[in-house]
């Protein structure tokens, strides 16, 4: 048995920040993690811009398509099937080690070092006071933690009309990245039509992103190589594994990859943790004084339910509904491709019909280039030769609006752990996720408003595609914050009710899910929880 003062489970957005906060407080910390990693493609991608790579690198097929052509996806069977080959490790072994069965809910989980943070879109959105309160979080503490996280991960952005929805009260942001032409054109249209759009509750700006425009430690400012979906060469876009790697140099930190945590038990002031080795299937017990669960809400739920022997008990769950609209910005037709730009969403359009910064919908705006044209050609009702020619002509005019909708708890949104013949854990997580008719009507209405606003901005929507529930990859609310000490809930400081030394630092406690991406708030909450343990 190995003993530690603190064990953090998981190395994703919350686990990395939890560990960093504890280590900086001088605690002895170990991170237990499955820690799956990828080296095959990482080292063969040149440190060059997308256009140069396309025109010169004879090895590009290896990482663009994959050595087994895993990047040429014909049938998109589940969320995550469109991951690029260098990011495919994010979903590796998940189906065997963490099975999830549902007809209506299709979450995406990861066992990778750095977790889902390895594919994070980097959008940073500070929740408003009203949103934080509805989540069950302490607004004063979280707003303070936003600044700590911003300093650590490096956030760039601007206090424009997106300010109240994105940077909030963050004061240490770096200057925003220069916009690519296509999004700059939309932004310029917004400035011209601002009065009318604001009247309808639409606000647009250069929302905050975890992308460096100034060097930070060993990370470089963004070179605008437009390769963010494939590589992290300059480390300008924040990934959670970067924090884990930087912690490895600290004497009071241990990173223990290869372990899937199954359950825990409190015994005589210690927490015993049972974990399974993902390589040889052996079981081992680790022991700590304080356990911090930061495995992501679904994995944390598995561990908590298993530890309490609560098979068949339903837990609530939240996931932002997500839809996206490919649009054509006719003014950009025929434009010369830019050599230096970034494909990361640099602007967002917020819909705040009541102008209260509550019940806000959020849409990030993207251009399309990095992910190659052949995937677009598949979406046309044309022979592939004509699809290729058409998409080549239209590509410069594509603007994609990805819309996140706010989400509340409901009776048909739940998960439960059931016994199964899964050889590794003996159980399977199942669940259901159904929106009420009223919620669907609200989404319809939102999307209609967005279509109108996008047309005003010169972007003509071609269609609206709703992803299956789970597609937003934003999950929360399985162990909601509670003032009482009922089981399967958290105290406001993150302690798992019913236990003395077990804490939860991921989004399990959030009782509400604003449409704004939650990653920044997850990290702030993790920092806040671990500043007190």
């Amino acid at each position: 048995m190995q003993d530690f003062d603190y064990i953090v489970v998981g190395s994703g957005a919350t686990g990395a920040i939890a560990a960093k906060t504890l280590v900086e407080r001088g605690k002895n910390v170990a991170v237990l993690d499955a820690g799956i990693w990828e080296e095959k493609y990482r080292n063969i991608i040149p440190d060059q811009d997308w256009l140069t790579i396309r025109k010169t690198d004879t090895n590009q097929h290896r990482y663009f398509l994959g050595d087994n052509f895993e990047g040429v996806v014909w049938e998109e069977s589940r969320v995550g099937s469109q991951l690029t080959p260098p990011r495919n490790y994010l979903k590796q072994s998940v189906e065997e080690l963490m099975p999830f069965v549902s007809e209506t809910f299709f979450p995406f989980e990861s066992l990778a070092k750095g977790g889902l943070g390895g594919g994070w879109g980097t959008g940073c959105f500070a929740f408003s006071t009203a949103e934080l309160e509805k989540c069950g979080l302490n607004p004063t503490e979280i707003k303070k933690a936003y600044n700590q996280v911003s300093e650590l991960i490096g956030i760039s952005g601007q206090h424009d009309d997106s300010g109240p929805y994105s940077l909030g009260e963050i004061e240490n942001a770096q200057a925003p990245i220069s916009m690519e032409k296509s999004i700059a054109k939309v932004y310029s249209n917004y400035q011209k039509q601002k009065a009318a759009l604001n009247k309808d509750g639409f606000f647009m700006g250069r929302s905050a992103i975890a992308l460096l425009t100034q060097d930070l430690d060993d990370r470089q400012s963004c070179k605008k190589y437009d390769m963010e979906f494939w590589a992290d060469k300059d480390k300008s876009a924040y990934r959670s594994w970067m924090t884990i790697d930087s912690l490895k140099a600290k004497p009071n930190f241990d990173y223990l990859p290869g372990w899937l945590v199954l359950s825990f038990q409190e015994v005589d002031g210690w927490v015993n943790i049972t974990a399974r080795n993902i390589s040889d299937n052996s079981e081992q017990t680790f022991r700590c004084r304080q356990l911090v669960l930061a495995a992501g809400v679904l994995s944390t739920a598995r561990i908590v339910l298993r530890s309490g022997n609560q098979m068949g008990i339903k837990l609530p769950v939240l996931c932002n509904p997500y839809s996206y609209m490919p649009t054509m910005q006719l003014a950009m037709l025929g434009n010369e491709p830019e050599q230096f730009k970034t494909g990361i969403g640099q602007a967002a359009l917020f819909h705040d019909p009541n102008k209260t910064n509550f019940d806000v919908a959020q849409s990030a705006l993207f251009s399309y280039r990095q992910l190659l044209l052949f995937k677009l050609a598949k979406e046309t009702p044309l022979g592939f030769a004509f699809g290729r020619q058409t998409m080549k002509l239209l590509q410069s005019a594509f603007v994609i609006a990805g819309i996140h909708h706010p989400e509340v708890q409901g009776p048909d949104k739940w998960i439960k752990l059931e016994k199964s013949d899964n050889p590794l854990t003996g159980d399977t997580l199942t669940g259901e996720y159904l929106l009420s008719e009223k919620e669907k009507e609200r989404m319809d209405w939102r999307e209609t408003q967005y279509r109108k606003a996008l047309r005003t901005l010169g972007c003509f929507p071609l269609k609206t595609i709703r992803t299956p529930q789970g597609g937003s990859i934003h999950y929360a609310g399985t162990l909601p914050f509670s003032d009482s000490d009922k089981s399967n809930s958290l105290s406001v400081d993150g302690k798992l009710n019913g236990y003395k030394n077990v804490w939860v630092a991921d989004g399990s406690g959030f009782s509400y899910l604003p449409a704004k991406g939650l990653t920044l708030t997850l990290m702030a909450n993790a920092a806040n929880v671990c500043s007190k343990i």
């Binding site: 025109k55 025929g334 491709p337 050609a377 004509f386 058409t390 080549k392």
Partner: protein
């Protein structure tokens, strides 16, 4: 027909010229790995498509409207991806600066060709 010859035909159809042996070999490898199985009807259509690029364009366009998930389309899609991820053909996929008028005329011309081939293709798909 062997997969090397298939690759050459597909390259002519998709990008207007045959590909190098290296890309043809890559297609051959991909077909082997993906284990694409054609039904009896698809095999007949495929044999016809491989006779010349006119039939290939027609059958692919017809299937795009009648059976877009056809395994024939999957083979064409695979070759399209291989061509795009190559230095040899990247210019056929990267947009070039053009006037809006030029883009609009090009779109109309491609649209007319696509409709023509789709009509022929639907007839062929129905007849075979």
């Amino acid at each position: 027909m062997d997969s090397i010859r298939e690759a050459q035909n597909l390259s002519v159809y998709l990008c207007g010229r045959p590909c190098s042996d290296e890309l043809a070999m890559r297609y051959s490898l991909a077909i082997g790995q993906q284990q694409i199985q054609l039904s009896e009807k698809d095999q007949k259509l495929w044999d016809l498509a491989m006779k010349n690029t006119f039939f290939l364009a027609a059958i692919d366009s017809g299937l795009a409207l009648t059976n877009s998930k056809s395994q024939i389309r999957r083979k064409v899609f695979l070759m399209l991806a291989i061509l795009e991820a190559s230095v040899e053909f990247c210019d056929e996929f990267i947009p070039k600066g053009k006037s809006k008028l030029n883009v609009l005329f090009s779109l109309v011309w491609i649209g007319m060709k696509a409709v023509f081939f789709a009509i022929i293709g639907i007839l062929i798909v129905k007849l075979i």
